[in-house]
């Protein structure tokens, strides 16, 4: 019984220390988010988002297929598939140009990972979807317009 009490005290002491560390700003959420490219996700323009996420905004059109509905009734859930036959793809970024912050997501591919990503994004209004791929250090892009009936960002 006594030993249980010891364990209990030890436990409270430990949480206490963590709590103090958080309180003192030693463990802020920003430390947790160390790797997250905040600037890229807050950028308001396509070019700033690309510079921040992929290091450059100069891109040429490449062999990239974007599968998305022509008309999305609900902007809160728009399925997007990006696929390419390009070889040596290391990065994929998916942007909704008309969103306040265009960058929706970016992906780093390991060796042997195909140039293929599918997800579902939110769109505020009708917009071009731009997919930018980095292959052998060069950026390539593809575009597809998606018309949105009801926007899915505010509410």
């Amino acid at each position: 019984m006594n030993s249980k009490r010891r364990v209990f005290l030890k436990g409270t002491l430990a949480t206490g220390t963590v709590g103090v560390a958080v309180g003192a700003g030693l463990l802020t959420p920003s430390t947790v988010l160390a790797d997250w490219p905040k600037a890229a996700f807050q950028a308001n323009s396509l070019s700033d988002a690309l510079k921040s996420a992929l290091g450059s905004d100069s891109h040429s059109s490449g062999d990239i297929t974007i599968r998305a509905p022509d008309i999305a009734e609900n902007g809160a859930v728009v399925p997007i598939t990006v696929e390419s036959t390009l070889s040596g793809v290391t990065d994929i970024a998916i942007l909704a140009v008309a969103n306040n912050a265009p960058l929706t997501s970016s992906y780093k591919l390991g060796e042997g990972t195909k140039a293929f990503v599918a997800t579902r994004i939110k769109m505020g209004e009708t917009s071009d979807i731009v997919a930018v791929l980095k292959a052998n250090g060069q950026l390539y892009s593809g575009t597809k317009e998606v018309k949105v009936t009801i926007g899915g960002c505010g509410g």
């Binding site: 988010l33 780093k108 293929f116």
Partner: protein, 102 residues
């Protein structure tokens, strides 16, 4: 129960991964009925590893839909290998799951 549901199936040397994560993905722009802003709460990073090898890292913003879906494909795995999928959100919450490639 894990917040991640994932399937990994191999066909012709290519492993096809499909994952669904339960997460609110709040943008920080919505208001509740009282007019108060609902704080942003979204997954920032999803990582996939196969037998300890890096397969894919996704950086997500709040523009990914609620209860996110993610699918990707990779080569170099065999049936029976383990695929590990984990996520971290902007509040520091996280979850991890492992699945056998079939």
């Amino acid at each position: 129960m894990s917040s991640i549901r994932v399937r990994a199936q191999i066909e012709g040397g290519v492993t096809n991964v499909r994952a669904l994560i339960s997460h609110p993905m709040e943008t920080g722009q919505r208001r509740d009925q009282g007019g108060n802003t609902i704080p942003a709460h979204f997954i920032t990073e999803v990582k996939a590893e196969c037998n300890g090898r890096h397969v894919l890292t996704a950086n997500w913003g709040p523009a990914i839909s609620r209860n996110p879906y993610l699918s990707f494909q990779f080569e170099g795995a065999a049936a029976g290998d383990t695929l590990k999928l984990s996520w971290v959100d902007n509040n520091g919450e996280s979850d991890t799951t492992e699945v056998r490639i079939s």
